[in-house]
Symmetry: C2
Subunit: 387 residues, 2 copies
């Protein structure tokens, strides 16, 4: 379904640069549509949203965007009125550079919380960046990386149109009603209100079911820009591809979780309701004991029951609970099965570990995505501020 390498839809280009926030890596990215695009966005629900989120909620009301400007290294969060002023200056600088007004530019920042953005470096660095605009989405993806180990972009076709996803995110990830930084570009012609509804549904089944570490970022932003240059598309087909791309990007983000060596994909079936299926899937994907079991390929499968069972306010019948690891049955009727340990060890050692639970109490279904917990996560996060 996805193009390799990723390409942009008609009319979209990007550039990224080092403007001095990081020692030498790219730290400023600009995504531009040559014409105004219909747009929608969802943001973090954290009570301490970053200054760019406060500004972005205002900007997105019009449902129209020409560009996205994003910096890495500093998230401009917990920076008070000066932070919001700096976010405005960043949007204005990008607007001046591309020849539009600041209310058509979505601003994002990602990185350390609680440090003022060096706005002069951003303003100076953005001048002339339009000369660098080109067609490779990976260039933009590179400029928004923090602890990501690689830039992340995807694209797919719907009829005559293209959809392109660009995202970053590796830690402080349990979006819950929003997401990390993810931008979706398309040349399909779709109204802003329709885009908004589709985006919320797609995010709900993908990014919102991702958790690297249960910690909800203060900078989460997911925006979609539809510039219409490819004309109308079949909306049902568009939404199907939009959702599939969000799910695939969710898997890419999970696999690149801080320190991760495995993608952990949890499926919960036969729950009482979809809400309970989601809750239980999140409990499993977030359990440090499940994550370390996967990390060590240790067939300690009783932990699956522990994680399901700790959802004390969900309907669970112990004797109807079954579980599988990469297709191998390990729990039947709430009791651990006798199984070949070497086989289950091999299943757990795979790069992608599918953990499936059937509860036998209803038809609720959900999937969640995460990763194993490793010493690498601890190394990165014990000195993130200082390094």
């Amino acid at each position: 379904m996805f193009h390799a390498p990723a390409v942009f839809p008609r009319g979209f280009r990007c550039a990224s640069r080092n403007v001095g926030l990081k020692p030498s890596a790219r730290d400023l990215t600009l995504f531009v549509s040559e014409v105004e695009a219909n747009a929608a966005a969802v943001f973090t629900r954290n009570h301490f949203p970053g200054a760019p989120i406060i500004l972005g909620r205002e900007t997105i009301r019009a449902g129209r965007l020409r560009a996205v400007v994003a910096n890495s290294k500093c998230s401009n969060v917990a920076t008070g009125a000066q932070g919001v002023e700096n976010a405005r200056r960043m949007g204005a600088a990008a607007a001046a550079e591309i020849g539009t007004t600041a209310d058509r530019v979505l601003v994002s920042s990602t990185g350390v919380i609680g440090v003022q953005l060096q706005i002069e470096k951003v303003e100076a660095g953005i001048v002339g960046i339009t000369a660098d605009l080109q067609d490779d989405p990976m260039v933009g993806a590179e400029g928004i990386m923090t602890t990501d180990t690689h830039p992340k972009a995807l694209s797919a076709t719907v009829g005559n149109a293209t959809i392109t996803w660009v995202a970053k995110g590796s830690g402080m990830i349990e979006p819950n009603m929003a997401t990390m930084l993810a931008y979706i570009f398309t040349d399909a012609a779709i109204e802003a209100a329709v885009l908004d509804a589709m985006l919320r549904r797609a995010v709900d089944a993908s990014f919102n079911m991702l958790s690297v570490d249960t910690d909800t970022s203060t900078s989460d932003t997911c925006a979609i820009l539809a510039n219409g240059l490819a004309g109308a598309v079949d909306l049902a087909e568009f939404e199907r591809v939009l959702t599939a791309g969000c799910v695939r990007m969710t898997e890419i983000l999970a696999r690149d979780g801080e320190g991760a060596q495995h993608l952990l994909r949890v499926t919960v079936r036969q729950a009482s309701t979809q809400a309970e299926a989601k809750r239980i899937a999140k409990a499993i994907v977030n359990s440090p004991l499940i994550k370390t079991m996967v990390h060590g390929a240790d067939p300690n499968v009783g932990r699956i029951l522990m994680a399901v069972g700790k959802c004390t306010d969900c309907t669970i019948h112990p004797t109807s609970t079954d579980a599988w690891i990469n297709g191998f049955a390990v729990v039947k009727g709430g009791a651990r099965m006798v199984f070949d340990e070497a086989t289950v060890r091999s299943a757990l050692a795979a790069e992608v570990v599918d953990l499936e639970v059937a509860l036998g109490v209803g038809t609720g279904y959900a999937q969640a995505w995460g990763c194993d917990l490793t010493k690498g996560y601890i190394e990165e996060n014990a000195s993130y501020y200082s390094s």
Copy 2:
């Protein structure tokens, strides 16, 4: 307030042995009162309770106990009808050994989930154990250890009576309405119903606010036995000491969390309600990014706001939120303060890290206890089943 070393109240003794469940360490413990005691207990709310929990709920209904028998290494969880039968046999063996009926013996098991208990070893090993009964609570504490690095017992005086706490627990700890294995012995004369109410209040403010890793064990048990040999006590004073001992034992358990190098104590003040204060305190104490910040003594204090703010359904006014680390102000009015980084690094490097948040929206108050997240946690849990 506490005796060093811990001592038993009148009439209580204990013994522990290796009966072959572990290679050589003590794996079976018996606590006995020379007369029947009034008793109360709370158990895990996990939907997959161990066989001893299923049995224990039945046993505690009478409010009378002579003894507690507990084994380590195997938790007898997810073991079906055979597991419950084995738990009954374990209680009956202990009852025969001390000369009482099985319905006066509380049974506990702790260790790996999903493995049948080797009941013949327990039955053979328990014979003659009363000859080993003696006065040091630490001997009993040693027999119930799993990944604990040291045995845990405390005692304190209330009037003429003594209260003694014996506990274990290091991982799979976020009790939530119950606790890990903790036994409380007293010679005070208190009715079972009064004991039960006091125990629930004390556990609620102590063990239930402890989290090592957000994972709720399937074996959690906290029981109190009051044999009355010291006669009546002032009940208000008794409850005050009971609660203080539960809090102190909570701190001891948190400090000995798997891989832990720091005790993390979180205080939330001025929340909208006590329930919200508890929720936010738990969010902070459970945040992997807070835990790794403490581990690395990295003054990345914006993470405190992130963790408070991710409680999306709590009342939080960003501009009235303040925070302190070991007394040093680091956040004021929702923004990171300018502070001396070396001082805050030193505060974070202390063995006990006090993290205090004032929300400025009400009078809700709560404390929670946890520990830092280290490579040691990952090492222990990536191979717990296999090792």
